[in-house]
């Protein structure tokens, strides 16, 4: 019994300590470790689960004959220019004033129940600075049918490399 207890404690300790190391990078030299922490923007993880849409679901929605959602890219232009979802519109980074302003202008005349999908894919989910501000803006403007494209890792890995359709350029 003691051995089982010991094994369990070791497994748990190793797993949890590894996670802690991954989240708190230290200087590599090991002689004078300094922990850096940066305050990221509010996380996209705070977008309600019910408001998420997966790449597969979005592709199907875009292939449907009717009621296609409007798709807005709320990430950086360099990403959009390399590859974007066909038919999606570039709004600019949701974390920037310019991106917020363009998004506000674009939706000004839309009915509040318009189907809108926002996406970025610059960073892993939970580290994207753009999705949460864009979502909050649309929500605050009264839009009731906004979905956020769940991109786990980045647009390259979770959309382009999966073979989903893309377009390039402005």
């Amino acid at each position: 019994m003691k051995r089982i207890c010991l094994l369990a404690v070791i497994v748990l300790t190793l797993a949890l300590s590894g996670s802690a190391v991954a989240q708190a990078p230290v200087l590599f030299d090991g002689t004078n470790p300094v922990v850096f922490s940066f305050q990221d923007a509010p996380s996209d993880e705070s977008i309600p689960q019910a408001r998420l849409i997966t790449p597969d679901q979005l592709v199907k929605a875009l292939q449907a004959a009717n009621q296609k959602p409007l798709v807005f890219e709320v990430g950086p232009h360099t990403l959009y220019a390399q590859a974007h979802i066909p038919g999606s519109e570039y709004m600019g980074a949701g974390s920037s004033d310019a991106g917020q302003q363009k998004l506000r202008e674009r939706v000004k005349s839309l009915p509040k129940n318009s189907a809108i999908v926002i996406y970025c894919g610059c960073c892993p989910w939970g580290r994207c600075p753009n999705m949460h501000p864009a979502y909050v803006l649309l929500h605050s403007l009264g839009f009731t049918n906004v979905k956020a494209l769940y991109i786990a890792d980045n647009f390259g890995t979770d959309w382009v490399n999966k073979g989903y359709p893309i377009a390039k350029g402005d």
Binding site: T13, Q82, C122, P124, T157
Partner: protein, 173 residues
Amino acid sequence: MSSKRILIYGIVALCLLGLYVAGRRSAQKPKRTASGNLAPDFTLTDLDGRKVTLSNYRGKVVLLDFWATWCGPCRTEIPHFVEMQNQYGPQGFQVIGISMDDDAKPVREFALQYKLNYPVAVGDDKLADRFGGVLGLPVNFIIDRQGRIHAKYLGATDVSVFDSDVKGLLAQP
């Protein structure tokens, strides 16, 4: 249920939790792919107005960092790159930062604030395409003294990996 059985179930549950957490960690590991191809050459103007030409660094080991000021994992890596430049620079190591920000202003502010000690230029989609696409950040390349891509690192990477790879290449002629 006896207290002994409850204890056993508890221990099994703890083990499963530990394995689950460990599994999630390994699933989130960044990708490192070896290459060996010659790195595409480019000339950009850095934040100080100087020309940065990749091929001019032949003979040095280069860490090429595609990053952005708004990218959390990138910002986490940068202090390590500053430290690596200090430590390995005299041995023939050079970090070059390519910001994928849409404009240079925040890059300039960031470079001053974090005292970047290596050239930083603003890139674009065309440069990214030449490096196989930068469709998520950070993306890093380590380039050997002959100008060949030693490895590509996609996503936030443990600094010990860079450190080990750079030290290995610096030890080579």
